[in-house]
Symmetry: C2
């Protein structure tokens, strides 16, 4: 059995529900990529270090301090240590903005990157700022809109490397709540979507977004009196919610130039919805971009730690 | 101890969550008003009659058949017996439209009033049609809008005794889901509302209803970065959702002449919200109107049963 190779540094994306780490060598080679369900939401303050060690203990050098660069909710007030927000307009945070956490274990040198806040309209992000940095590492002069689909999707206006403003939409969380817990749950298929029904719903909501509250119950009613299929019903719920989101976002963001940070089913649904409104969007691999953002931060580690 | 007086007839409002009955004499006098948690949603088909008998056994005459007039979800396909919908435009259903249920107990003569459906846009109601009938019993020539606040609020356009069209909004259910299960639950007070924050939110949503998806997360963010109080946050959630509902409904209904069937906190919130948009609305006692609708149906019982 080959002994486990040791890492030069650790990248970590620590969200509310999950912890994901990459063990890396200084050339960017990936020694390990692991995850656990020990997200910020499940941990008390003194449980963060053990949760991290569970995933990385075997890649730590016994005789050196290994840098651990973290983004995400671990830096919130209820997290491991607070990394105070930067405020827009601003460039994404770098390692000089990070909070240096005093770890118990002498093998760890832990830095948590801050999130970004906006005062008016009030908004916050933690984790996505590092993806933005990763995107900018490859596309420094991009001016346009980033969309990061998720439970809470983020829309970001970028200009000359600066986050000008952003908005968060609860669309993903609304979909989850409505499909699992509302009266609509009786009407929806488990997972199949009907693309035509999705597109009709996006169009309807884009044209008349304020009708959303009535259109949602209409899904249930159409199942009862108009034989709407469960597949069409699920697609319609998704289309109405994403359509309403686009109707809102088009007021503040340039939808003609959207880069979607994601390549899963959800990101593809956003691309379809943008397509219904006549906009082409580009899908990018969110995972790779997260790692790229953390690597960018690590690139100034020598400067910060010396 | 006086022996229990016997009823000439029973009125019942049988919804998804509750069963409420009134035991009445033929002059309209109320002998008993009772309720149980045995709503349609909790019962199999053969459990309806026992659930009803639990509440009314002691008011039944041993030697006669007592009419039981029921409105609500007990008449749905998953209920006691299906009472097929009438279709708009139509007058509210009367006893001639009711489904005659074959009860096991010879003392019962059970009639379930149908709901109303609309094909385009698809919509349904069960129970509210009887409240509409009760309202029309006193206001036969009312032309304007009825609003019935609730988990699923109903908006109804009435003209010359006819339900022209209606819409259902899931606003109440959305509020319940978001306040109990979403990320916003961390930001909200238990029950206190801040009236000023409610009014600001109604105005905002009325002017820019499509921003609702972003404004919802903004409640959480404003708690984090702008010290929004939990009371203001709760009021803001309520105001955004009701404001969006009004923005949708004003396209199809005359908001200058709204009768609100309800007198509880929720109905008062709708009245405040309509007030923010410059419309006066009148509150009516929903319970009394339900009984009045069932009594109207009972008034033609002799004709139907002979």
């Amino acid at each position: 059995m080959t002994p486990q190779a040791k890492a030069d540094w650790i990248a970590a994306d620590w969200g509310t529900s999950n912890l994901r780490i990459w063990a890396l060598d200084s050339g960017g080679g990936e020694l390990a990529h692991r995850s656990s369900g020990k997200g910020m939401g499940t941990l008390g303050r003194d449980e963060f270090e053990p949760a991290l060690l569970e995933l990385i203990e075997d890649v730590l050098r016994p005789d050196a301090r290994t840098p651990v660069i973290i983004c995400g909710m671990a830096g919130s007030r209820q997290g491991w240590a607070e990394a105070p927000y930067k405020t827009v307009p601003c460039a994404p945070p770098s390692l000089t903005d990070a909070t240096h956490v005093k770890a118990e274990d002498p093998r760890l040198d832990v830095r948590i990157l801050p999130g970004i806040k906006q005062l008016k309209p009030a908004d916050v992000m933690r984790g996505e700022e590092t993806q933005i940095a990763g995107f900018l590492a490859e596309n420094a002069d991009f001016t346009g809109t980033l969309c990061l689909p998720g439970t809470h999707s983020k829309w970001v206006a970028l200009q000359d490397g600066v986050v000008e403003r952003f908005r968060t939409c609860m669309t993903g969380e609304l979909f989850a709540l409505l499909s699992a817990h509302s009266v609509l749950r009786h009407s929806l298929s488990e997972s199949q979507l009907d693309n035509a029904a999705f597109e009709v719903a996006v169009q309807e909501c884009a044209e008349r977004p304020q009708a959303i509250a009535a259109n949602l119950f209409g899904i249930r009613a159409a199942g009862l009196v108009a034989d709407l299929s469960p597949e069409a019903a699920r697609a319609r719920l998704s289309g109405l919610l994403i359509g309403a989101e686009l109707a809102a976002m088009k007021q503040d963001f340039d939808l003609s130039k959207v880069m979607l940070l994601g390549s899963d089913k959800l990101a593809k649904a956003y691309r379809s919805a943008l397509g219904c409104l006549g906009h082409q969007a580009v899908l990018l691999d969110a995972d790779a971009i997260t790692l790229s953002g953390l690597s960018l931060a690590y690139s100034s580690y020598q400067k910060v730690s010396s």
